[in-house]
């Protein structure tokens, strides 16, 4: 009798030991994958960039083409992110506060850029606005250049980053409902006051999170932008495109130097994301407690 219990206890212990071992192996494997696929490339980028010392590193960054690529990237981000912020807010507002026909279709369409390959997104714009495109004649008559110019780059960036803000806000706003807004209106607030004093504070952290994600994607977008930009050095090259050109010219040190600039921007954004995410999850757990 007692030996049976002992045996049972021993096998339970063995099982537990097995569990612990399995868990350790799994965690080790996760770290290994992380190291090989993420840390190693990071290390390679930085070491390649600094291979010939800081002098060449900064030369590559301060070269006019690099600076104009950085300017163009920041300009494209600066235009497309605010536009997507406005669009995302408006879409989330419509979806969560009103009932209208075609609502679920709209929600599905918002996700379209996630499922369409960025290259195809770029091609769509070429087909629409390119010289041989649908509106090509009209555009050239009026001397408007979209493809191989800033508007095309901005359009492509907007397309690929369209879902981020809306996706983040829709569930948040749906969960919060409309009662606080109704209460505000009953207390005499006009539409703007209601938005500013009630809606915005309630969605603030979700909005920041969405914008951060959107910015990260806009900074790094390659495929769609590559199709519409035309790769005109010093004019229509964004940072990721500039990196590719340098690399194709076997200018590895310069390519990696510019790449590390993108990397630093990405890390800053990652920190911002972490911070807004923490605030957001605290907000959600507060709401859940209620």
């Amino acid at each position: 009798m007692s030996s049976i219990t002992l045996n049972a206890a021993a096998s339970a212990n063995a099982a537990r030991r097995g569990n612990v071992l399995g868990r350790r192996l799994l965690i080790a494997a996760a770290w290994l994958v992380f190291a090989v696929f993420l840390l190693l490339p990071l290390y390679v980028v930085l070491s390649e960039a600094l291979k010939l010392g800081f002098g060449t590193f900064f030369d590559a960054l301060l070269e006019p083409d690099a600076i104009s690529a950085l300017e163009l990237t920041l300009l494209a981000v600066g235009i497309s992110v605010p536009l997507n912020l406005v669009f995302g807010l408006a879409a989330a507002w419509c979806v969560s506060k009103y009932e209208f026909p075609g609502k679920s279709l709209l929600v599905t369409l918002i996700d379209l850029p996630f499922s369409v390959s960025p290259v195809i997104a770029g091609l769509i714009y070429v087909l629409l606005f390119g010289a041989q495109g649908l509106f090509g004649d009209w555009l050239s008559e009026h001397d408007i250049q979209i493809i191989f110019a800033l508007p095309g780059i901005v359009l492509a960036t907007i397309f690929v980053t369209l879902p981020f803000v809306a996706r983040e806000l829709i569930p948040l706003m749906q969960e919060q409902g409309t009662q606080e807004e109704e209460a505000a209106r009953l207390l005499g607030a006009n539409g703007w006051q209601m938005f500013w004093h009630v809606t915005l504070p309630n969605i603030k952290w979700g909005l920041i999170y969405g914008v951060v994600l959107c910015t990260a994607r806009a900074l790094g977008e390659f495929g769609a932008v590559s199709v519409v930009s035309g790769h005109i050095r010093g004019f229509t090259n964004t940072l990721p495109l500039h990196v590719e050109i340098l690399y194709n010219e076997y200018n590895h040190v310069a390519a990696f130097s510019v790449a590390s600039l993108l990397l630093v921007l990405a890390l800053i954004i990652l920190l911002l994301k972490q911070w807004s995410e923490a605030r957001l999850s605290r907000l959600k757990s507060d709401a859940a407690e209620e």
Partner: protein, 323 residues
Amino acid sequence: MSIEIRNVSKHFGAFQALNDINLDIHSGELVALLGPSGCGKTTLLRIIAGLETPDSGNIAFHGEDVSGHDVRDRNVGFVFQHYALFRHMTVFDNVAFGLRMKPRRERPSEQIIADKVHELLAMVQLDWLADRYPEQLSGGQRQRIALARALAVEPKILLLDEPFGALDAKVRKELRRWLARLHEEINLTSVFVTHDQEEAMEVADRIVVMNKGVIEQIGAPGEVYEHPASDFVYHFLGDSNRLHLEGGHILFRPHEVLLSREAVAEYHGAEVRDIRPLGAITRVTLKVDGQNELIEAEVVKDHDTLVGLERGERLFIKPKASA
């Protein structure tokens, strides 16, 4: 300020939530909208406030048609069932909100706003909570803050959607008496929604009984209780018994009953199934011969027939007002 509701109907898709509602609420009255879940009480309240537009019909305040007026121009106070306090604002800021949203010309100074807010918080006896956030309050406290917030802009009409619905029995009782007093003190026309008949009877000047989107009866509490216009109203306003007789049945309330230990003419024989002392009264559950539906009789606790009464014994009963 009086409220006149004329021929108001409202559909949600194919579902008719309100069907040709007509109702006059006099200035200074406290009216209860009473009815079962889903009968359209909230919808009617929201239409009065302007949060919902009726398909047809109109709403007038003091004779002036306000159907076309926006919510913010109607100046009604509204207390939501789940309070809808602004979650990111302190109690103070919640109550101050209405005053701060006024157009610049009419907006009082921050000093006057602060005085007013503290006055309101003192009125709802929660002055000490001014710096808390809504999530740090109990249900009853949130309820009173929601009320203070609605009253800050000095509405002439106060609408309350199940104001005590989410509270426990004791707090409910306290709050509804307090509300009735408050209604007396400040000159308001109030409409409150409830599905609790006791609450409606205790607080309201008049009760509007609703069912499936129509008004079944309007009247003072005593009137609807004593002279219900339909079986529905009768059932809804209190416990009821049904006694089957040859050629029909009669309805009566548990207290409207005569009991006897001995057989008497016109009395019905019955078996005692249960005896429940409920304080001042005692409830006896009876199975009348020849019908399966049980009958509940409520008599004062020292009633003669109760002395030594046990389950399974026989009693004889007769509805008091065999009308």
